[in-house]
């Protein structure tokens, strides 16, 4: 006879709410008319995120292992779930924006129409939207929330797929530059599937090593490892490959620029912020909980990866001509900075990483939102040269963007600085000073390309046929405003959030 496992549905309520909203979203797409869908879907998604956020707040302080060890609810989990939800909320604002591009927003009218065929161009001005984007996004958020909560490598893998698969599709939904978008989707998909195969192989070896894929069991097995450590190290390496891919660490970063550039900008923002939080959440959990006993073995690798990631991200960003690509490389560099925090392998590192994720997410979402506002005849003004002199013609926009770029560069009184401070402090406290020095050098390099954009905007003469800054989109403005204000507030008064992160980090992962 089997005793059925019990599932504490209440502790899972944030995930379940979001999941339910996704399902309802699909139903709405199935039954509502196109017009109704366009209005109703974003409201639904937003309301769902808010509800889930409330649930996260209510669960505050809960610490438990759920569903027969499959999931864990603890302070870091809730912190990251909350973060993901906030970012998702902001991203929904961007996706829902319909004032940017004729009447349609950033999402394609009908993804099924072959680019170049009859009607493919008419759909650029069509009021239609592939409203499936919303449920897909919500599904992805479900996956992300599950990803950070999973206490079991298999569940983690499933969550990884739940978060990735919708993103693959979302990447292909850009209204303008369909070919680029499709290409991004394909590259993302192929490489994503490739990396998740690695992750899975790692799961298999973890199972081979520990006889279980629960993180706690793996940790136990690690603590008295001996006979079969080949499996253990294989497992560690392969899992790391999968996770490093998701955070876009070098040498598993090659998808990032392509996908960031080709995807619809709101989706890029969502990916940049949300995926990073989710992947880092999982990474932290795997490395702290399951392989915490091995930290002396994985530290050197982490160092190497972190250095590579920072250097490659910062240096390659220098050569970019496209603003989204540049931000993509900057995202890579930031992944490197986050890894520096992780390299501290201490509570401070956990706190620093979580704090950094929040700061980075707000800034990057706002930055991509600003990018989506500057447009030319065939979509966004991607090429950097088109941003020339924008500071003269649209000072407010350029000023905001400069502020965000400075935040990304880590100038004091922006959240980017406090974030960097938090992770670097953790790293130095964790005896990773050389890493911090490298990180600082990379910050300086990175500052160069951020500053270059500012120079271009403020110190160059405007183009004769410059891009247009759209002035009507309320939702995008809201997202930019929220992101910018958060960037400022977290730079000036980060204490409340730091308190939250400290509490979360000190209470630690449940195991």
């Amino acid at each position: 006879m089997i005793t059925p496992p019990s599932i504490e549905y209440s502790s899972l309520s944030p995930i379940l709410i979001v999941f339910g909203v996704a399902l309802v979203g699909v139903l709405v797409d199935a039954f509502a008319t196109k017009r109704a869908r366009r209005t109703f879907q974003p409201i639904l998604a937003g309301a769902g995120f808010v509800a889930a956020l409330v649930a996260v707040a209510v669960l505050h302080g809960r610490q438990a292992i759920l569903a027969s060890g499959a999931l864990a609810i603890d302070a870091p989990t809730l912190f990251m779930q909350g973060t993901i939800l906030v970012f998702a909320l902001l991203s929904v604002l961007l996706v829902a924006e319909r004032q940017l591009d004729s009447s349609g927003g950033a999402i394609v009218a009908s993804a099924a129409i072959t680019p170049g065929s009859k009607g493919s161009t008419a759909q650029q001005t069509s009021a239609d939207v592939q409203t499936e984007a919303y449920p897909l996004m919500v599904f992805s958020v479900t996956g992300m929330m599950l990803f950070v909560a999973s206490n079991n490598l298999l569940v983690m893998f499933v969550a990884l797929e739940i978060l990735s698969l919708p993103l693959y599709l979302l990447a292909g939904l850009a209204r303008r530059r369909r070919l680029l978008s499709q290409e991004a989707a394909m590259k993302y998909f192929l490489l994503g599937a490739f990396s998740s195969a690695f992750f899975l192989y790692g799961v298999a070896f973890a199972y081979g090593f520990a006889g279980s894929v629960e993180l706690g069991a793996v940790a136990d097995a690690v603590s008295n490892a001996g006979a079969n450590d080949t499996y253990l190290y294989l497992s560690l390496a392969l899992l790391a490959v999968g996770l490093f891919f998701k955070i876009g660490a070098v040498p598993f970063h090659s998808w990032t620029p392509d996908v960031y550039q080709g995807s619809p900008t709101p989706v890029t923002a969502f990916m940049a912020a949300g995926t990073k939080v989710a992947a880092f959440g999982a990474l932290l959990r795997v490395f702290y909980v399951a392989f915490g006993g091995l930290r002396w073995d994985w530290r050197p690798i982490l160092w190497t990866i972190a250095i590579l990631t920072m250097v490659v991200g910062a240096v390659l960003a220098l050569t970019q001509r496209d603003i989204k690509r540049m931000l993509a490389y900057s995202a890579i560099a930031h992944a490197g900075f986050l890894l520096v925090g992780l390299a501290g392998t201490n509570t401070d590192g956990l706190r620093g990483s979580m704090f950094y994720l929040v700061t980075y997410g707000f800034t990057t979402i706002a930055a991509f939102a600003v990018v989506s506002l500057v447009r030319t005849g065939d979509g966004e003004a991607g090429d950097l040269s088109q941003w020339r002199g924008l500071g003269r013609t649209s000072p407010l926009l350029a000023g905001t963007f400069s502020f965000l770029l400075l935040a990304l560069a880590g100038i004091p009184l922006t959240s980017g600085f406090t974030g960097k401070f938090a992770v670097f402090q953790a790293a130095i406290a964790g005896d990773a000073t050389p890493l911090v020095v490298v990180a600082l050098v990379c910050s300086a390099i990175a500052a160069f390309f951020y500053v270059r954009v500012i120079v271009l905007m403020f110190f160059s003469e405007p183009l004769a046929e410059g891009p247009v800054v759209v002035t009507r989109p309320t939702l995008t403005f809201a997202a930019v405003a929220i992101g910018t204000v958060a960037t400022l507030v977290l730079g000036v008064a980060p204490q409340p959030l730091l308190d939250l992160a400290t509490t979360a980090a000190t209470s630690g992962f449940v195991r």
Partner: protein, 120 residues
Amino acid sequence: MLSNYVPILVLLVIAALFAVGSVAAGALIGPRRFNRAKIDAYECGIEPSPAPAGPQRFPVKYYNTAMLFIVFDIEIIFLFPWAVAFDSLAVFGLGAMALFMATIFVAYAYEWRRGGLEWD
């Protein structure tokens, strides 16, 4: 456990021998009278087209069906063990499966309403 499969193997050998043998025998016994028309593709008596419908020209519909099948087959994969252990799982099992099926149902409803199940 594996010994349970031996009879199946035996049956497989017998069937395979029979099939291969028959086909071989048919090829050997049968007459051979060459005629160009015989070995052309059959197209109801008219001149066959030089390039018949190639493997790249399936209607997309078939892919669609294949994908749908995969989804439902997966569902059935989970339904079978669930059904076998149903009495033990009882209320929990019913709840979990109801959730699962509701999910599939949503997808199914979407597919239906968006014309994924239509053939023309």
